[in-house]
Amino acid sequence: MLARDIVDLTLEHLYLVGVSMGIAASLAIPVGILLTRRMFLQRWVLGFANVMQTVPSLALFGFLIPLPFLGGIGKHTAIVALVLYALLPILRNTLTGILAVDPTVRESAVAMGMTGRQLLWEVELPLATRTILAGVRIATVTTIGTATIAAAIGGGGLGVFIFRGLASVDTTLLLAGAVPAALIAVAADRGLEWVEQKLSPV
C-alpha cells in the first residue's frame, strides 16, 4: 500500500514541479531578456523577485490562500507559490548570461549588420545558454524541495507523507516523503547538467 502511495505522490510531486518550472521559465527568460533591453526596469523587477524569494515559504503559501483567482486551497495555489520562488534564479541568470557576452563579439555582430533580433537569437542567447540553464537547474532543484510544503495547503505531492509523518511522529512516513524528494532532486540536477552540456554551443 505504501509503495503504491509513494508512486502516486511522487508523480503528483513531479507534476507540481514540472508545471511550476514550465511557467516560471516561460515567464522569467523573456522578462530577463527584456531587462537587458530596458535597464531601468531591472531594479523593480529584480526587487520584486528578491522580495518573493525572502518570504518564508510556508508564509507565502498561507498568504495566497485568501487571494481571488491565484489563491484558495489546492494545486493551483501551490503552483503560483512555486512559480514565484523559481523566478529569481532564472531571471538573474538570464540577465547575467546575456550581459556577460563579450562586448567585442556584440559590437562585431552589430557592425556586421545583424538586426536586433538576429543579435539576440544568433549571438546573445546561444552564448548565454549555459548560464540560463544553470539558473533553471538551481530553480528546479530548489522547487523540488519547496514543493513538499504544497501539502500544507492541499496541493498534494510528497509533502503529504512528510506532514503526516510529522503529525503522527512516524519516521517511516517522513522518510517515504523525504527520500524520494531527495532522489528526484539529485536526478534533476544531473539531468539538467547533462542538458546544459548538450545545448551549450561552446
Binding site: 559590437e107 562585431s108 557592425a111 549588420g113 538586426t115 538576429q118 561552446v202
Partner: protein, 249 residues
C-alpha cells in the same frame, strides 16, 4: 570622382568631453588612409562613424555622397567590412560560419556562400580543408585575425574599416599580416580606413596618414609629408621611429 568617405566638420561629445572637433577629411576610392593617434585621440570614434555605429553630434559623414544618417543603418554596415583587434569572431560559429556571416544575412544561396568562404580562406592563407570547421578557440591569434579579415571581405564591400587589427599580435605575426593585407588590398583594389597607434604600421600601410590629437586633425597628408611635418604631435611620433628612420626625415 567623388570621395568614398568624407567627414565634414564632424564633432561629437560624450557628456562634457569633446571626443572629435571639427574633423574634416576625405577617403578616396582605392587608397588606404591610416588614422594615427594615441589612445583617447578619438580615432576609433571617427572610424565607427563611417559605418554608423556612431552618429556625429554636429557635421556629417558622407558615404558615396550620402550622409550616414540617411543610409539604412543595417545595409550600410553590411556593405562595409569591419575588422577589430582580437577579431571579435563569434566563438560559437565555425571559421566557415564566421566568414560566411554577412553573405548569409544578405540571403545568398548556400552553394555561393560555400564557394565564397573557400576562396576567401585560401586568399588569407588558411587552407579550407584544414580550417573551415574549426572554432575560433582552436586558432592562434594570427589565424583568428586572418579569419577576421576574410569575414570583413566576405560580401565584397567597397570599403574596409580596420580598428587596430594587428594590435594584439606578436611582432613577427604582425608583419606577416600587414603584408598579407597589402597584397589583398592591391589585388582586390579595396579602399581601407585603418586606425592604429603604431607609426611604423601607418607608414607601411598608409597611402595617406591622418594624425589625430585630442579629437583634432594635427596632420593629414602623404608619407613623405608626414616625415617632414613639424607639428608637435607628428614629431612625437617621429621619435618613436628610432634612428634608422631618422635619415629619411
Amino acid at each position: 570622382m567623388s570621395p568614398l568617405v568624407s567627414f565634414r566638420q564632424v564633432a561629437t561629445r560624450i557628456g562634457q568631453k569633446d571626443i572629435l572637433c571639427n574633423l574634416s577629411f576625405e577617403v578616396e576610392a582605392g587608397e588606404t588612409l591610416v588614422l594615427l593617434g594615441r589612445s583617447g585621440s578619438g580615432k576609433t570614434t571617427a572610424l565607427k562613424m563611417v559605418n554608423a555605429l556612431l552618429l556625429p553630434s554636429a557635421g556629417e559623414v558622407l558615404i558615396e555622397d550620402r550622409p550616414t544618417t540617411r543610409w539604412d543603418p543595417i545595409g550600410l554596415k553590411r556593405r562595409t567590412g569591419y575588422v577589430i583587434q582580437e577579431g571579435g569572431l563569434f566563438p560559437h560559429f565555425t571559421v566557415a560560419a564566421n566568414v560566411g556571416l554577412v553573405p548569409r544575412l544578405e540571403g545568398w544561396p548556400s552553394p555561393k556562400i560555400e564557394a565564397r568562404v573557400e576562396s576567401l580562406l585560401n586568399q588569407v592563407g588558411l587552407p579550407p580543408a584544414q580550417f573551415a570547421q574549426r572554432y575560433p578557440r582552436e586558432l592562434s591569434g594570427g589565424q583568428r585575425q586572418r579569419v577576421g579579415i576574410a569575414r570583413a571581405l566576405a560580401a565584397d564591400p567597397p570599403l574596409m574599416l580596420l580598428d587596430e587589427p594587428f594590435g594584439a599580435l606578436d611582432p613577427v605575426t604582425r608583419v606577416e599580416l600587414q603584408h598579407m593585407l597589402i597584397d589583398l588590398r592591391d589585388k582586390l583594389g579595396k579602399t581601407a580606413l585603418l586606425v592604429t597607434h603604431d607609426v611604423r604600421e601607418a607608414l607601411l600601410l598608409g597611402t595617406r596618414i591622418g594624425v589625430l590629437h585630442n579629437g583634432r586633425l594635427a596632420f593629414f597628408g602623404g608619407r613623405s609629408d608626414f616625415l617632414k611635418a613639424q607639428d608637435e604631435e607628428v614629431r612625437a611620433f617621429h621619435t618613436c621611429l628610432g634612428d634608422t628612420w631618422k635619415d629619411s626625415i
